[in-house]
């Protein structure tokens, strides 16, 4: 019995893959149906995991096992229900209260974390001694890091017109940014091809046994 269901599972996987890939030839009802199944199953998955992994252990089990000792958890519970009321237009404004809590918390944390990690640490990392290494390539590279970071930032400064000295710096900055985007494109190609490799490993290996 299990063998039948395993085989059926392989067929379902292969058919799902081919239904999605049929879009490459032309948009068609098989692709549209597969897409809608994907949306529906994905939504239900998120819902189930949210209930079992977050709401039950962190809220319901605490409130139900000892409501008096855990009275404080009624507050996020009520705020959560107010959040759900957003779906009804008449009660939409009630959702602003839990939303304000989420947004305020996120804004506070983001301000601190991005300031430390992305601004201060990265600025410190740019303050290199370019001559610290004896290797010529590394020395050139470290100069590139300093000049590239500063000119890249000048490019993003739009409060002044990019003319004269600022204009030259911005133009140099664009050059570094373009090299950076090219490198990102190269890595993006690698990522996308990897996803195709995964699919073909399933189709050719698991389904057709053509890969040893």
């Amino acid at each position: 019995m299990i063998q039948f269901w395993t085989m059926l599972g392989l067929w379902l996987g292969a058919l799902s893959t081919l239904a999605i890939w049929s879009f490459l030839y032309k948009d068609n009802p098989f692709y549209k149906i597969a897409e809608q199944i994907f949306v529906g199953v994905s939504a239900a998955y998120w819902l189930i995991y949210t209930i079992y992994n977050i709401l039950i252990p962190n809220l319901f089990s605490k409130i139900l096992t000892d409501p008096l000792a855990n009275w404080i958890y009624f507050i996020p519970g009520i705020l959560g229900i107010m959040m759900l009321l957003r779906i009804i237009p008449k009660f939409e404004k009630l959702s602003f209260y839990p939303l304000s809590l989420l947004i305020g918390t996120t804004a506070g944390i983001s301000l601190l974390r991005f300031l430390k990690s992305d601004v201060l640490s990265q600025t410190t990392a740019t303050m290199l001694n370019p001559f610290s290494s004896g290797n010529l390539a590394v020395i050139i590279g470290q100069f590139i890091i300093i000049i590239g970071t500063i000119t890249g930032l000048v490019y993003f400064y739009f409060s002044k017109k990019h003319k004269g000295f600022i204009g030259y710096n911005a133009r140099l900055g664009i050059i570094f940014l373009m090299i950076s985007f090219g490198a990102s494109f190269g890595y993006t190609v690698m990522a996308r091809i990897s996803l195709l490799i995964g699919r073909l490993q399933f189709l050719l290996g698991d389904c057709l046994n053509l890969i040893k």
């Binding site: 239900a44 949210t50 989420l102 050139i140 950076s180 490198a183």
Partner: protein
């Protein structure tokens, strides 16, 4: 006027998070720890809100017979099948309302929820994203033209990185002697990634970081109110 209380809550929550960073002692530490758990619980409800929105949107499309409304029926059917499977028999790790589905596991090898995930959903998702491989090849052929200096630099750097990231790139220049190692494709690719790419990415990171700090401050101080539906 009726948005004053949410703005005050936003201000206090943001301020608490900032103050607790510098004064990590009672009462701030205790309040912020509680706030973080509440955040997680309310986020869970926000996820449920997303699913309810999806159901509402699809039901309305079916009700008003909008374009392609028949496909919305497929969405809702697949949603409810997966939901009922998850609620009744649970997942791989958790039991459901009517039990842990041991007899089903013996017949089909796993619970219905996990069976649908492993044999349908995973493949649909992976296939959807694998389409990008085809589209990136097509886009590279049509749009990746060296019209200007900037686009030429982009192209050259992309080609070096693509070659350096593969075993073919390593093999193509493996014959080079030690003193010409700087011409080895993986070496050129590594130089591009470690220096000019790093400089460009760092500039973007610092710029974006400053932007996020600015918008976070605007949100905390109540200047940015788009999440309340615009300035009122």
């Amino acid at each position: 006027m009726n948005h004053i209380l949410p703005l005050i809550i936003t201000f206090l929550a943001g301020l608490l998070m900032i103050v607790s960073e510098f004064i990590p002692h009672k009462p701030f530490e205790r309040i912020v720890s509680e706030l973080e758990i509440w955040f997680m619980i309310i986020s869970g409800f926000a996820i449920i809100l997303g699913q309810l929105s999806l159901i509402k949107m699809n039901v309305l499309k079916i009700q008003y017979k909008s374009e392609n409304w028949k496909y919305c029926v497929v969405t809702l059917i697949s949603f409810f099948i997966m939901l009922i499977a998850g609620l009744l028999w649970g997942t791989q790790n958790q039991g459901g309302i009517i039990g842990s589905g041991e007899s089903l596991i013996q017949s089909i090898g796993s619970k219905p929820f996990d069976y649908i995930f492993d044999n349908i959903y995973q493949h649909l998702m992976a296939s959807m994203f694998s389409l990008l491989a085809f589209f990136i090849a097509s886009a590279a052929y049509r749009a990746f033209i060296a019209r200007t200096l900037e686009s030429s630099l982009l192209l050259i750097s992309a080609i070096f990185v693509m070659l350096g990231n593969t075993s073919i790139g390593t093999s193509l220049t493996s014959f080079l002697p030690e003193n010409l190692n700087f011409l080895h494709l993986p070496t050129i690719s590594a130089f591009i990634m470690d220096y000019p790419n790093l400089a460009g990415q760092r500039a973007i990171m610092i710029g974006a970081g400053l932007g996020i700090i600015g918008s976070s401050l605007r949100i905390i101080l109540g200047i940015e109110r788009s999440w309340l539906g615009g300035k009122k």
